[in-house]
Point group: C2
């Protein structure tokens, strides 16, 4: 039925091993034979069978990519970049979605472990301990999570948070709330840590409100607390939270940015077309996706764990923040 290496061998008058080598180690075969084999392969429409190859080499050519929620606009550009980077290296990517649940995440990792050469864990919700444990089964690269001994790509959200707080301080805000994200989110922890340190330096009092689900609903739900806390500015865990918050406080009769300044994080597409357009921390999502794939493939092929790389973030000022 399907055309195999054997058909190609027959058609070009060489042994199957030679055909195999023309595809997997071209330099080992004579240039003339190679072109002959390639011609025959092309003619017959031969495509190597990855399953068979996987069986021999113990490499599947597949990578896993686990995210909390594909529908969260933070992830698609990252997935897209990772995907195309992997494809360029002739790897396929399984994308899986954990619905923000640590249990599902663990289950996914376990079930993927044996069928991929490595996996990307993006903003995982698992405990460090469990991540380290699972990391013994499959090569991992973490995105936005730091676990000692495991390679990772971090977006330096701390720098962005500092810029945000300075920006707000510069606008005269002295009482600022930070809406934290999921408890297990490294990004959230970093953000809060940096914001607190920076607030101290600028004479700003920081109110911590959270944890909040990383969604519009999460933002909306904390509107009351924000209002009653008397702050004049908010740094939200992400753009969706910011949007949810803004909508709700406007329903309560406030205006953004006149009555309340709001800063988001992620610089998702939505931040640009929401009204007021969101001041937000830009995250280098595509670069992170590409970089993570590079690290992962390095780990997979060399067997040793590459280090951790950190990418810059920066504040993008738009219309949701104003002088107090």
């Amino acid at each position: 039925m399907a055309v195999t290496i054997r058909d190609v061998a027959r058609a070009s008058g060489v042994h199957v091993s030679t055909v195999s080598r023309t595809f997997s180690a071209a330099h080992l075969v004579n240039a003339q034979t190679r072109t002959r084999v390639l011609a025959a392969a092309d003619e017959l429409g031969y495509r190597p069978n990855r399953a068979a190859r996987a069986l021999s080499t113990r490499r599947t050519g597949n990578l896993g990519l686990i995210v909390a929620d594909i529908a969260n606009p933070f992830f698609p550009p990252l997935i897209k970049a990772a995907q195309s980077q992997a494809r360029a290296r002739d790897y396929h990517v399984f994308v899986a979605d954990t619905d923000e649940q640590a249990r599902v995440e663990e289950e996914l990792v376990r079930s993927m472990a044996k069928q991929v050469d490595g996996a990307l864990l993006v903003a995982p919700r698992l405990s460090n301990r469990l991540i380290a444990e699972l990391g013994r089964d499959v090569p991992f690269v973490l995105v936005n999570r730091r676990v000692s001994g495991l390679p990772g790509v971090l977006m330096d959200v701390a720098a962005g948070a500092r810029q945000a707080v300075e920006h707000l301080a510069g606008l005269g805000h002295r009482e600022v709330a930070v809406l934290t994200g999921p408890r297990a989110s490294w990004t959230s922890q970093e953000m809060v840590r940096a914001a607190e340190a920076c607030a101290g330096e600028h004479g700003v009092r920081l109110h911590r409100i959270g944890p909040n689900p990383p969604t519009e609903e999460g933002g909306a739900a904390s509107a009351d607390e924000v209002v009653s806390s008397g702050v004049s500015a908010v740094l939200a865990y992400n753009d969706m939270v910011a949007v949810g918050l803004i909508q709700q406080v406007e329903r309560l009769g406030l205006t953004v940015p006149a009555d309340l300044s709001v800063v988001g994080v992620d610089n998702t597409h939505a931040a640009r077309y929401f009204r007021p357009a969101l001041t937000t921390v830009d995250m280098p999502v595509a670069a992170a996706g590409r970089g993570a794939i590079d690290l992962l493939l390095q780990a997979v092929t060399t067997g040793e764990s590459p280090g951790t790389v950190s990418l810059d973030t920066r504040l993008v000022v738009r219309d949701s923040t104003a002088r107090r």
Copy 2:
């Protein structure tokens, strides 16, 4: 290294074939042996090797899912639904992104063909002829595209478009523009066809403007033409186009919906939080994803092509449309 069927066989004192059968055809093995084997497997942490299985059965257990652009908010909920449906049936899903380019799409299908048991083509940009041709290599299910002989899931956007036109007609609009999408988009064709028929019935004149890229930029770019055409209402190819259009016409000094009513399509997340909140046609995206996977697995396992199913759409009225 990894624990294989052979280890389990040894540990439980049976032949490998019996172990194999315990996992792939449990009814063929004695209940006692089965529990013994399962115990051993569990103890050793055995997981069947899918590549090896694929080699024997000629089934990979993988499905392909090809979309035009993961970052287009229309797709993630569909991907998510398809993904989880497939996972529940013990299939894995490769997601790939064509960047809206037919050539890339063709290449992707070809390269996936031999490594998946079937593929979902969502809103493909390829020609019918090519789709039919590629369909001979792999079982396909199409979403939002009708190609005779191939199974598909269609969202009845025509019905939604009719409702939209009736809605606008009811608000007193007599000159309406329709911003068409990519030339190869079945959705766009359906939408225009239905809108035209319906416009005729309600004494509305329909101006066709396009094709437009299915993005905000696409919408923004057609703002001039919309304004100069003198229409009082617009039906846009999708929500992103609608948003882009609205932003641009507001830059030109108009107000939506006071000066121009705009209807989107897709009912993406953004439609809800954009200001003005978008009147739009709701698409049953998750249901389509699940349904498409079901059809695909049916095609894969029975070998015969299931039919085409059509899902309802409906107009959701929000704040971007008003009486003329």
